[in-house]
Subunit: 370 residues, 2 copies
């Protein structure tokens, strides 16, 4: 059975106010369809964050509709879970009826998490039965319980679709700026709790990566959605699932209409044909200008070459001096304790005592456990 | 062919902050199903205002999903258009796929109204073919053009589902407070433009009523949604469509869990068992207290009997004196010119001259035409 694993579509997302809808249409309605045809895909798993917001725009809903309709025309079986960005209730509209058309959207579990079980669906191929388990986005504390509540036959072939922050001791997750690490890792789920599943199709982290074993895997987002993702190689993840434990994985690069990348240097260099002619001037650009002198009208001048310039920064001795007040972007990289210590220092000009620090750690851990 | 015509569900609506969701669940998922079974209904038409807002809550979406799923289990063919309260884009999610399950949700027409045609679907029964035309809510100025653009065979049986403000010379529409009459009637559509259709299933006005001929008809809302609707008799509209021009219509009363009604009198009378024992004390109540003396703690005292008291007014010589400043509710009953004249008088203490009034009429008509 050949399966395409997708995640983190974030349909309707805007990056620095620029709508990615046309890129998304290109990836979903064109490129994905080629990949499906070329690779004899029969099943598509979509591991959450379909939309960028619980209240997606009409245009975003129309695009997802178009995508599903195309998959349906190709007789693809589609399994969908909501991510933390989605409204599980709104997303499961017509889910019972859509099952008749081989589209399986998981229902919200929120009402009674303690007694909830994973929804599961059976598929068959020449090697026998495959069970596909759907886990809508959940608080991490509930994940183990729901798996424990569910009858899973370890002798059969089992796939889980989930949208969680999964980590593995000894592995460092590849994270972008917005993917915060919590104090003490209370939001992380250890990969070990997925041992019953032959393949775990994850969504949440935007860089494609496996966690521990090769078969617990983030597909990654379909596009670069922030300038902290410019070095990531987005890909289509294809799973060839034969006998139990006989799984091979192939990654096919995603080719967007325009790439997202950073450029840096003196403005005249960035504007020289020698530099820009080697790249696509329509790419989504974050430019950092390094001139020491005042640069007049930089945004307009750069946009004459780089039409999709989305972000403009300056890096010179003056801005570095100002930047002693921390860049707001970096806040997300710090844990709560560090942030509080900086705040305390800033307001009182004193350091926390060791005892005070212990109290804060207890408070932070308490809050994160709620 | 036996058809149930519904409209103005307004799923998720709150009346004076009280959620009507349980009433709506009762009507849609229980009572409607009985009506369908008892009357051998094969087709359900839903003429817009499915939800109360373009961004319905998760609970509202879940209820509509439940309703559609039940209709689908009964093998009912369902035809749905968005009303002015709905987002046409969001509502048409999965519409192409749902057609495979006999659920037809009209697509948005907004992109190119001038060249748009009505979506239509064919049905057959022992008398031959029936064409069902779907017209999503449109600006009234576009309605005639879209009908003109559409090929309609007058020799066949034709049904239109629409959500518009339709009127007929010589007929007075039955309106509730929120159904404003515009200056010069620019928002009204004359019933004559629907001559090609044997039956026109309308939504928009909340009182069940026919406009001109018996077969151009508002189903009315499924529930009383404001205290100006307390005298309306909500009903299920059942159409028995045999040969062309052989249509009979039956109305079956809607029976909500609790009714919506007004009570008025001195508080002690309203609280006396003689008065309240004859009614359902769980009804949704607007109480008007007529005592001349100060009444202490009226809301709490009334709620001890009338648990769903939603609105409390006072009517005595003092409040009538204060009410010379017009009750805000009445604003909706006045046309724009009257409102402006009152505003002008209020601010300047002068009347509009005849010339000034002409200018205002031109401006108002201009704005309403946009």
């Amino acid at each position: 059975m050949r399966i395409l694993h997708l995640a983190d579509l974030h349909i309707g997302k805007k990056v620095h106010s620029y709508s990615m809808l046309e890129e998304q249409r290109h990836i979903l309605c064109e490129e994905t369809m080629y990949v499906i045809r070329d690779n004899n895909i029969e099943v598509v798993l979509i591991a959450g964050d379909i939309y960028d917001t619980p209240m997606p725009s009409g245009q975003a809903v129309e695009l997802f509709d178009e995508f599903l309709t195309l998959l349906n025309e190709l007789n693809i079986k589609v399994y969908i879970i909501p991510g933390n960005h989605d409204s599980a209730e709104r997303m499961s509209f017509a889910s019972d009826i859509l099952k008749n058309n081989s589209i399986y959207i998981s229902k919200p579990l929120n009402y009674d998490v303690d007694n909830a079980r994973l929804e599961s669906y059976e598929l068959c191929d020449e090697y026998g039965k495959v069970n596909i388990y759907l886990m809508p986005y959940l608080r991490s504390g509930n994940v183990k319980e729901i798996i424990d509540n569910t009858d899973i036959d370890r002798n059969e072939r089992n796939i889980l679709v989930a949208h969680q922050f999964v980590s593995c001791i000894g592995y460092e997750n590849e994270l972008s700026d917005s993917e915060v690490i919590s104090v003490g890792g209370v939001d992380n789920i250890d990969v070990g709790i997925f041992d019953e599943f032959d393949y775990v199709a994850l969504g949440h982290l935007h860089a494609p990566q496996h966690i521990g074993r090769e078969t617990v895997r983030y597909a990654g987002s379909i596009l670069k959605y922030s300038f902290s993702e410019t070095d990531q190689k987005k890909s289509f993840t294809i799973i060839d699932f034969r006998e139990k434990e006989n799984i091979s994985i192939e990654k096919i690069p995603v080719v967007p209409i325009n790439d997202m990348r950073k450029i840096k240097g003196p403005i005249n260099k960035l504007l020289s044909e020698d530099i820009y002619k080697d790249g696509n001037v329509n790419d989504y650009i974050q430019a950092t200008i390094t001139d020491e002198d005042e640069v007049f009208d930089a945004m307009r001048r750069l946009k004459e070459v780089y039409v999709n310039l989305l972000k403009l920064d300056f890096d010179n001795s003056r801005t570095r001096a100002h930047n002693k007040v921390e860049n707001i972007d970096n806040v997300e990289k710090k844990d709560e304790l560090t942030l509080f210590k900086e705040f305390f220092k800033n307001r009182t000009d004193m350091e926390l005592t060791e005892d005070e620090e212990k109290v804060m750690i207890d408070i932070i851990n308490g809050v994160n456990k709620v």
